[in-house]
Symmetry: C2
Subunit: 82 residues, 2 copies
């Protein structure tokens, strides 16, 4: 049993219109000190007992479904539970 | 100049249909060991020099715009840069 935290971010070179929109809104609200906003996804995945290596499993899921590796990067942390 | 990482998650008590859909897709792909998926947002915010306290600033932005505190929780980490 493990809890995996996955962070998916747009690659540096990819424009983030959602982030720009949020930055624009913050600026209109007076938060002019905010110079950049990038928005990604944060996933918490619970994984039960498995015969497979957890790193291998998580990487495979990320690459097949959870991220678009052409425009996104991901990183993850595994928290083992009992 | 600081980089702030903000994690926005749905409260425990709130249903996450997007997470359930992802879990269903993973199950169809054969990843039956995945027992739960919750999806949140991950924001990277660059903040320039400001007279205001950074914690106060980040909390205010989170509560006014970045999160819906009725259904979402947030936490953040401040990484100072030079």
């Amino acid at each position: 049993m493990a809890k995996v935290k996955i962070y998916v971010t747009l690659r540096e070179s990819v424009l983030d219109p959602q982030g720009s929109a949020v930055q624009g809104s913050l600026a209109k609200m007076g938060y002019n000190e905010v110079t950049d906003v990038r928005i990604g996804k944060y996933l918490e995945v619970q994984i039960g007992d498995s015969e497979r290596n957890i790193d291998e499993l998580v990487k495979e899921m990320c690459e097949k479904l959870l991220t678009n590796t052409v425009i996104e990067d991901y990183r993850y942390e595994v928290e083992e539970a009992n």
